[in-house]
Symmetry: C2
Subunit: 428 residues, 2 copies
């Protein structure tokens, strides 16, 4: 699967020496640790979008960007955008600063501080101080309200539905912006005549890099995501007085479906496919009542649309076969929103791979991203690329999420090297 | 299973003629329909224990009992107890007047109005006006706070834990009694020198009588109920980045368990056994997170303790076999409270069977009760018996619950006949 250190994308130009700006490891780690203090919970963070902790973190990020010499502001949908004083062509570097309900300290945050640090490091170095890096902290990549809210706003893609999307407490985006005083604040917007590319660094959130002794992942594409909701409708009745042969039990139908689903998906899947039944409901949920309604939501991911089609077919076919067995109606409904696989830009990948190979030859690889990220939105408007560093134990979306400090520092330096080489390429 | 019309319990004394008091069908149906108006919702009723609707119904029942010549009061735990002015020996007749969250109009209510009507009919008839029938409407048989609260109080069996039991809104029994002004009101209490037996009529809540063209069921015993909670503990992780072979998915383990459970229980079960998985949980319940925790609660019922033991063993064995598979810990915990099977009193059953046979020869049968009822508590203190009438479509615990009017009237008359013959037997 992983194409380890193979230079199949480009010629043998790895020996090329650039006067690369050095990032400042201590400053990088200090800023990352300070960002964690906004909503810290042990080693993890609780900083959901538009929470007081999130808003305070965004103000702090704005101030740090300003101190770095960027023209920084929190925009009308919560993005912190720090525009370089230099004219374009400019790279946008960043990630999101919001977290999962029980989030790790690096998911998003690391890529944000990388953007800040690379912008700073380049401005400090006389060799690169003329290059333009715009740093960004997107809002709500994690979908507390709606996934990739900030990057969607940046490309002017928000719909009325997006503004009415609600968090778990029922607050809409519109009301959250009013509550936080962002309502009416000017948006940061994509400028086609300035912004030539978007680069994002992120923890891998999976075990591949660690397991293969790799330190940098050059992302080839972001997997597509689809979902199907399967509902089971039986008949509610008394759990004592209804004989077994007269039951139309929605929960039992769901158990059989969920059990058989595993083999069916394995047959349809490719080697990189994953599928998850994270949301399961049984109603009315009383010990003495035979359930009349159950549901499973099946989410599945793969880099290939053809494989996603096969997996979708497998779910639909199993639902159709299960329908009506023991008087339970089984209905499978594909989710309206499909996330198509997103290819990263080969030219940008080349620069990241070159930078990685120069720093850690034979310890980088190409790999897909199995998690969603803002380039899913942005790549429709400008070339995007991503860089991964290893996650310890592959753990993320959990307080225990962590990465080795040397990997965090290496990732920032590789990103800085790549940013310089991309922008210098445009000059030559 | 059902011993249809077989006189195996007693000799051939069905021809015995008693001057039976006639119940008043119109009055019976009018009172039943009036009781429905307290919390009516279509054909059904929402009258949970100690709700305003329930308290109003209890005041109304008290007044109807008083009008019938009983010394009636709502007691300190909500029971409406109407004591006959006649000296003992006395029969207690009744049921509960509270309902399920979405209850039928007859579950409990019918047996309560039967008690009132039989007490009235006997007092009106010069041949039986000397007999003592104490009518009762127990509180909270359905367990809105704690099952069989009222009958447990009647036999002075309430514990401190019972008083702290809460409803779905978190209100304790203690606070509910304070709120309703029942706190400190005198309890109605079982009097061993007066009360010789308890009789309860109820809808069957199942399909047996209807399916076998029977109109009266003479209950032989109330099934025992046990429960086992099975928990599945895996590892929470990212639904995109965690490869299938590295997952410890609690939901998948639960699906396999729930699916295999059906065959295992069928092997262990007897012909009257039922088992239900009404409460199923999967956490944290997000589409993009692999669930780390799931649970199934398995409730099972049978008239035989030996069969209940076999079913319990089957659950425990399957849990033990499933434990550790794909890194998911499976733990099965039997519920502390077991409800043992409760045998009805053969002498009382004889009288009910005789009365049924006289009214509808060949259209009555003996049968177990698959639902729990207050005799589970009361039978430890005095002889108990129950009479069932058919449920249309076997439906109960549902607004659609209903019975044919002719069956409702027949059941009241059979109960009156049986009450007279039981009390006359004691005189002779």
């Amino acid at each position: 699967m992983l194409q380890v250190g193979v230079m199949h994308l480009f010629g043998a130009d790895y020996g090329h020496e650039t006067m690369n700006s050095r990032i400042n490891p201590d400053r990088l780690m200090d800023d990352l640790r300070t960002l964690r203090t906004f909503g810290a919970s042990g080693n993890g963070v609780v900083r959901p979008t538009f929470s007081p902790q999130d808003m305070a973190a965004r103000q702090w990020l704005r101030d740090r960007m300003s101190e770095a010499g960027l023209n920084a502001a929190v925009d009308g949908v919560g993005n912190v955008f720090g525009r370089s004083p230099n004219p374009g062509p400019a790279l946008i570097l960043g990630s999101h600063s919001d977290t999962q309900p029980e989030g790790g300290w690096l998911d998003g945050a690391m890529g944000v501080i990388y953007g800040l640090e690379v912008a700073r490091a380049l401005l400090e170095d006389p060799n690169t101080s003329h290059l333009a890096i715009d740093a960004v902290a997107w809002s709500d990549e994690e979908g507390t309200y709606t996934s990739c809210l900030g990057s969607t706003g940046f490309v002017n893609g928000l719909t009325a539905d997006d503004m009415e999307a609600t968090n778990a407490s029922g607050e809409s985006v519109r009301n959250a912006l009013r509550r936080t005083g962002l309502d009416g604040v000017a948006p940061a917007r994509f400028q086609p005549d300035r912004h030539v590319a978007y680069l994002e660094a992120h923890i891998e959130q999976g075990p591949h890099l660690e397991a293969n002794d790799q330190r940098i992942g050059v992302v080839t594409n972001i997997v597509g995501i689809r979902g199907v909701r399967v509902t089971f409708d039986g008949v509610q009745n008394h759990a004592g007085t209804t004989p077994m042969h007269l039951r139309n039990d929605a929960a039992v139908a769901m158990f059989h479906f969920g059990s058989r689903l595993q083999d069916r998906m394995a047959e349809a899947a490719g080697p990189l496919s994953v599928w998850t039944t994270g949301v399961v409901t049984v109603e009315p949920g009383a010990e003495s009542i035979i359930p009349d309604r159950a549901s499973i939501t099946i989410q599945f991911r793969d880099p290939s649309d053809a494989t996603l089609d096969r997996m979708s077919d497998a779910v639909m076919r199993l639902a159709s076969e299960s329908n009506g067995v023991k008087g339970v109606d089984v209905v499978a409904t594909p989710r309206r929103e499909k996330i198509a696989p997103t290819a990263m830009d080969p030219h940008l990948m080349h620069h990241i791979a070159t930078a990685a190979n120069a720093r850690v030859p034979d310890h980088w690889c190409e790999m897909p991203s199995a998690a969603g990220h803002d380039p899913m939105v942005l790549s429709h408007h400008l070339p995007c690329a991503m860089l991964f560093i290893p996650s310890i134990g592959g753990i993320s979306h959990d307080f225990a999420e962590d990465s080795a400090e040397e990997d965090i520092v290496l990732g920032a330096q590789v990103l800085a090297d790549a940013a310089v080489s991309i922008l210098e390429d445009l000059e030559s």
